[in-house]
């Protein structure tokens, strides 16, 4: 027998396919990650056009709404997908197979990125058609950096929330959907950081996503070129947070197994 954990890409891919099966068969998930974001983008776009007309402010808002969907869909895919397994009493079935927690998390991140890419493409086309907004105006390289940084931001928040769900059970279910929206104002997703009260600006500066949204608005204004230094700094900050979140997750996962909560999660 081979010792310790052997990371298997085949098992990761199996879990990605499993995720696709669930998405394909669940109207709720289809609405949550495809329809509601679409409605959101159109609604915000129309409201801002009504209030601001075809101005830069309108464009900022549409940009913020589009980029924010990266955060929500990636995070949703990590936490809410696990809740489906818990509600179906299938989570322990998965974990008595050879799949490791690292493989499980990796698969959810990959599935989240695939879904987000698909949704973002649809939303980008929609905003182009409805609001003459071209997402690529911020620059392809910048967009790639922003998307990666926002995805990492969503991943570490998702992993942290998942740790709390494993540790404290389904009573934490509400946070799997709801908590991420707390970060919407706190990261100044839809408006410049300066709009926030001073004390909130100090909190907002803690989160890497805040700098992404600020940079995205600057890039949309034009003339910034590729924001390489800033993007790399955000990436570095994000990675630090990701390590901290993984450390916390590892602790919560162990506590969940020590207390028996992990097994009880499946018993309803």
């Amino acid at each position: 027998m081979k010792p310790a954990s052997q990371f298997s890409l085949a098992r990761v891919w199996t879990m990605v396919i499993h995720e696709i099966y669930i998405t394909k068969r669940s109207l709720e998930i289809f609405f949550d990650i495809f329809i509601f974001p679409l409605i959101n983008v159109i609604l915000f776009g129309l409201i801002s056009r009504f209030i601001f007309g075809q101005t830069t402010t309108n464009q900022y808002l549409v940009l913020g709404v589009l980029l924010w969907e990266i955060v929500t869909i990636v995070q949703y895919n990590i936490t809410v997908s696990t809740m489906w397994e818990v509600w179906s009493h299938n989570l322990t079935n998965l974990f008595i197979s050879p799949v490791s927690i690292v493989e499980y998390l990796t698969s959810h991140v990959i599935a989240g990125v695939i879904k987000t890419s698909a949704v973002l493409a649809i939303l980008a086309v929609t905003t182009r058609a409805f609001f003459h907004f071209n997402l690529l105006h911020i620059g392809v390289t910048n967009l790639l950096f922003f998307a990666i940084n926002l995805a990492i931001f969503a991943i570490w928040i998702g992993v942290l929330l998942l740790g709390f769900i494993f540790r404290f059970g389904t009573r934490m279910a509400a946070i799997s959907w709801g908590l991420i929206f707390l970060f919407q104002p706190l990261t100044a997703a839809f408006f410049p950081l300066s709009v926030l009260p001073h004390w909130m600006q100090d909190i907002a500066r803690v989160f890497p996503a805040t700098y992404v949204f600020e940079d995205a608005r600057r890039a949309l204004g034009g003339g910034t070129g590729i924001l390489l230094k800033s993007n790399l700094l955000i990436l570095f900050l994000n990675i630090l947070y990701a390590f901290a979140a993984l450390f916390a997750f590892k602790y919560l996962f162990k506590k969940s197994k020590d207390s028996g909560q992990f097994a009880r999660n499946d018993l309803g």
């Binding site: 010792p3 199996t14 099966y21 068969r25 489906w84 197979s97 050879p98 028996g260 499946d266």
Partner: protein, 309 residues
């Protein structure tokens, strides 16, 4: 097999504490190749916790678990690749189809020629016609059969079965037991089996462990257990007030089980049975029917459960 051993599972001094509460108290046992071991005990005895620890979804407080001669903590994935589990309390994902569920687990166990293997198993358990149905649409019996099929995807050498026949009708429960026996006879699979149905356990288990409050209180073959159990069941039908007979039984500190008004089962040493009946008659209890049953696993179970008070 690795480790040049016939031991499929070895549990040594397993302890699980939840704060001040000890759920599993220093238990040790072993399962050999092809052996079916029953793990029995009243609710709260520690069976489920033990199984959860054995499959790695709950951490032990101390002790050692070895599969195929290798430490489970060091060889978790490799061990899980060679074992499988099915429980009445776990289900597969409801909203996807049976085939999609099976494909997922076949992928996780890295089964070769997956569709062929899945089709064979679904046919064996007579559920191949349900392959494209959503799992949530299946009846309890159909789910159990699909779960059994899932648990055999990796050709396990050890199968942990937690009450596999719970909530099944007698026909399907009987078929399930036949499949379990077939697994052992044809594939030499070792099985750890829990059930509250004592006749099932007597039918298929080579050895039985009784757990009570986390401790092993009795271990041996079903025949050993009943031999050790020196009590018989005296089933009485009587006409006296219920409270009166209960008062007499309580005063003699006898173990008993009341079924309904007018019927009671008393568990007493064989040699005292006649004396107890005579005493009840002397006390004015009008007994209309008496039956004395030789001990079986059910009585051993009831005795353990009653004596824990």
């Amino acid at each position: 097999m690795d480790g040049m051993t016939d031991s499929v599972l070895k549990v040594e001094k397993l302890v699980k504490d939840y704060g001040d509460y000890r759920a599993v108290d220093n238990i040790s046992f072993e399962i050999k190749k092809g052996q079916i071991l029953g793990l029995l005990g009243p609710n709260g005895a520690g069976k489920t916790t033990t199984i959860q620890i054995l499959v790695g979804i709950t951490n032990m407080s101390s002790g050692k678990i070895s599969y195929f001669g290798k430490d489970f903590q060091k060889y978790r994935q490799a061990s899980l690749q060679r074992i499988n589990s099915t429980s009445a309390y776990n289900t597969l994902l409801g909203r996807i189809t049976v085939m999609e569920n099976m494909m997922t687990f076949a992928g996780l166990y890295r089964v070769k020629d997956r569709r062929k293997k899945i089709t064979e198993l679904l046919e064996r358990f007579e559920v191949s016609h349900l392959a494209q149905n959503r799992y949530q649409e299946l009846s309890a019996g159909e789910r159990t059969r699909v779960n059994l099929a899932k648990s055999l995807l990796n050709d396990p050498e050890l199968l942990l079965m937690d009450e596999p026949t719970a909530s099944l009708d007698p026909d399907i429960a009987d078929k399930t037991l036949a499949w379990v026996e077939q697994l052992r006879s044809q594939h030499n699979v070792s099985i750890l089996f829990t059930s509250h149905n004592m006749s099932e356990v007597e039918q298929i288990c080579d050895d039985v462990i009784f757990l009570d409050r986390g401790k092993i209180v009795s271990q041996g073959s079903p025949a050993d257990h009943t031999k050790k159990f020196d009590k018989v069941e005296i089933a009485l039908t009587f006409k006296a007030p219920y409270e009166r007979i209960i008062k007499i039984l309580d005063s003699k500190k006898l173990s008993y089980q009341s079924h309904e008004t007018g019927r009671v089962s008393i568990y007493s040493p064989k040699e005292e049975a006649a004396v107890i009946i005579a005493e009840l008659v002397d006390a004015g209890i009008k007994i209309s029917n008496t039956q004395i049953h030789q001990p079986d696993l059910k009585q051993v179970f009831i005795d353990i459960a009653r004596n824990r008070k």
